[in-house]
């Protein structure tokens, strides 16, 4: 069964500092990979996704993520964090086409930004 691990439950960074949120997945083949962000009391907003091709993907709000097949990782990065980035971040995977679809989420990483 596929699984997603976000090893960091809570991260605190200073505004203007760089950010990296870790995500590792376990699946036989390369799944589709997503990062979503959730502000308190809100739904999930898609930041970026990887289906195939260039392993460095750009998303909204200045975020990017890099897919590393050898490490089964899809880490999210931002060079300079803004206070408005404080939220919960979820990594998610979906099996590739031809298999039963089921979006599986990691447990999330809560980002706190200090001024």
């Amino acid at each position: 069964a596929q699984s997603v691990t976000q090893p960091d439950i809570h991260i605190t960074v200073s505004e203007g500092a760089s950010l990296e949120l870790r995500c590792n997945y376990s699946y036989g083949a390369t799944p589709y990979l997503f990062w979503y962000v959730q502000s308190p009391g809100q739904g999930l907003q898609l930041l970026l996704k990887y289906f195939s091709g260039d392993t460095l993907v750009q998303g909204i709000k200045g975020f990017e993520a890099e897919f590393k097949r050898s490490q089964s990782s899809f880490n999210l990065r931002k060079p300079s964090v803004h206070w408005s980035d404080a939220a919960e971040y979820f990594c998610a995977v979906d099996p590739p086409r031809g298999t039963a679809s089921k979006l599986t989420f990691g447990t999330g990483t809560r980002l706190q930004v200090t001024l």
């Binding site: 589709y32 997503f34 979503y36 009391g41 999930l44 898609l46 979820f90 099996p95 989420f105």
Partner: protein
């Protein structure tokens, strides 16, 4: 412009009193999903509709039902809510299976 709309945003119900949550979409997507998200946890898929075909997750309690009368609307019915059903309920849509899912703002359910 809102694409996935959930009403109401907050719902209070009593223990055992049936409640219905609503989701609508303007994307004309084929697939609609319902997730349950408890506090500080990841969203958990309850079921999804691919067009009119209903697909229930194996571990979704019988207490949870869903209806999709047309492409735009999908409802989540909780027949007899228990205290453990208090959660955020998220609706999502995708054009097809294994395509990007777009989420609504969620309905937070409180069971008294």
């Amino acid at each position: 412009d809102a694409m996935v709309i959930q009403n109401p945003r907050y719902q209070v119900t009593q223990f055992g009193k049936p409640v219905t949550l609503s989701c609508s979409q303007t994307l004309n997507h084929n697939v609609m999903y319902w997730y349950q998200q408890k506090s500080s946890q990841a969203p958990k898929l309850l079921f999804h509709y691919y067009d009119k075909d209903f697909n229930n997750e194996a571990d979704t309690p019988d207490n949870f039902q869903s209806r999709r009368p047309n492409t735009s609307f999908c409802f989540l019915d909780i027949r007899s809510p228990g205290l453990g059903d208090a959660a955020m309920y998220l609706c999502a849509t995708s054009r097809d299976l294994q395509e990007t899912q777009y989420f609504g703002p969620g309905t937070r359910l409180l069971v008294l």
